[in-house]
Amino acid sequence: MALLRVEDVQTGYGEMQVLRGVSLTVAQDEIVSIVGPNGAGKSTVMKLVFGLLKPWEGRVTFDGRDISGMAPEKLVRLGLSYVPQVDNVFPTLTVEENLEMGGFTRTGSLQEHKERVYELFPRLAERRRQRAGKMSGGERQMVAMGRALMLDPKLLMLDEPSAGLAPLLVDMIFEKVVDINKAGVAVLMVEQNAKKSLQLADRGYVLATGQNQVDGKGSELLSDPEVARLYLGG
């Protein structure tokens, strides 16, 4: 059964329609990647699922429950977690405090959860007292992902996790995504870096002009010459 189901959704900002009928599903153990050209509406899908935009048409369900337009602070309690593309850390807070904020809704001790994040990103353990705003782009991305993992989400949503990172770091971040997924967290991500993200994704969706164009197994999309020519830049 699908964990997340987006059904034929239309939405936009103000008068401007961005999504013109998008459908997708994410199963419990999957990594799903949304790729496509700039302005296709990739990030808008993320904002829609995370309640930052309300659907004009269609609906979103999570774990069989209608969550269309539900407020983000409620969604985190259901097991969704979201890492925005930019401004995804609290810059004046330390690494440790950033993680604590990720676990805000939890009442008990956060120690165990913090340790798990530090295990995943040993770099952060070394710098737990550092202010997040003073860290490099790659480290900030780790803080952002760590923050999002503090509530044991069922689904982790990543908006362009590799944006602006050096190639070596991109590989590292993608490896971590696979690790997170192996630990039992479904992942939905949006990526500019289509080739790399489709390589590790179980399934992919190609989005253009606010609509699904093609979907299928990650590897199949990659080897489809039509997809490559039209959407992945050759």
Partner: protein, 341 residues
């Protein structure tokens, strides 16, 4: 990167170190000017101590202004009048309680302490209530900043008018007619014991704010919300609770500052309104939204204000605070602790 001389000059005078140097030079200039005018070093040092005392009270107000700005992105022009409200609510409690003897060496009795403990949380709640009535509806409508400013000004006038109605326009004291002798602290510096109490309590409260912001969950959530409100929501932080605590702390500290100012000087219906300018000067000097910056700024403003009175009529104190604010806005609008864009 190559810079034109003008740009380089602007960089240099805009750096935080340059700001400290300028503040240091101002102090040195004051001392030299005092020598030239033949003022005694003692007088100047006394004024410095008085400035520190004033800074402590200002800091209590400035923290609230800057926290409200950080969390809600609005300038609360009613903050000074929350200080007035606190001072006068304290007066009610002091008047209602049976009079006790002064707690020597201080001029006040137990009534003042009881009033303080009652009024501080009360004004915190009042501030939150006013937010519910005046500001929350504006936030829900995503109103322009000017609407928030107007609403805040309306509240400020409203509170002041209430004080006029109940207490009249005259100044008053917590303990009318009670002598408040000054004692020699050291080297000819004379202060009233009350003032040491005021500074001590202000420092305790400031340390309390620091611990709250750094160590408690809600304090960290307040800093997180100030940093990035969208990410705070996405992280599941309860923004309603953050707003509640922001007003409780801001309003409570305003009341504390108002009562302490009233104890030190006098109670007047315009006291808070007149403190608003130095409050904003402190907040801007210490970088808008930075709680520790606001505290540091308050001490700087307090000291400069008091020391300037050695040379010019003390009535120009506000002019001095205003001058500092204008200079900061011209040279380094992001304040002492801000980041250059």
């Amino acid at each position: 990167m190559r810079l034109r001389p003008g740009e380089r000059f602007q960089r240099v005078i805009g750096s935080p170190i340059a700001m400290y140097v300028v503040l240091g030079l101002v102090l040195v200039a004051l001392v030299i000017a005092a020598q030239v005018k033949g003022l005694s070093g003692n007088l100047l040092f006394s004024l410095f101590v008085r400035g520190v005392l004033l800074g402590g009270t200002l800091a209590l107000g400035a923290v609230g202004v800057t926290l409200v700005f950080a969390v809600l992105k609005m300038a609360n022009f009613a903050h000074g009048d929350l200080m007035t409200l606190g001072a006068y609510l304290g007066l009610i409690v002091v008047a209602l309680l049976p009079k006790g003897a002064p707690l020597a060496p201080f001029s006040f009795g137990y009534e003042f302490l009881v009033a303080f403990l009652l009024v501080v949380p009360l004004v915190g709640l009042v501030a939150f209530g006013l937010d519910r009535v005046a500001f929350r509806p504006l936030r829900a409508r995503r109103a322009q900043p000017i609407m928030f400013a107007m609403a805040a000004l309306g509240l400020a006038f409203g509170i002041r008018s209430l004080v006029y109605i109940f207490w009249g326009a005259d100044f008053t004291f917590y303990y009318s007619g009670r002598a408040r002798p000054a004692v020699e602290l050291f080297a000819g510096v004379r202060v009233r014991p009350d003032q040491l109490f005021i500074l001590g309590l202000a420092v305790v409260l400031i340390v309390g704010v620091y611990l709250l912001l750094e160590r408690t969950k809600i304090g960290k959530a307040m800093r997180a919300t100030a940093d990035n409100p969208d990410l705070a929501r996405v992280s599941g932080i309860d923004t309603g609770r953050v707003i509640l605590w922001t007003w409780l702390i801001g309003g409570g500290l305003a009341a504390a500052g108002g009562m302490l100012y009233g104890l030190d000087v006098q109670l007047r219906p315009e006291m808070g309104w007149w403190l608003l300018l130095p409050l904003f000067a402190s907040v801007i000097l210490g970088t808008i939204g930075n709680a520790y910056g606001a505290m540091a700024g308050a001490f700087v403003i307090g000291i400069v204000w008091q020391m300037s009175s050695a040379f010019i009529n003390p009535a120009y104190g506000h002019g001095i605070a205003f001058l500092v604010m204008v200079l900061v806005l011209l040279v380094r609008p992001e304040g002492l602790f801000g980041k250059r864009r």
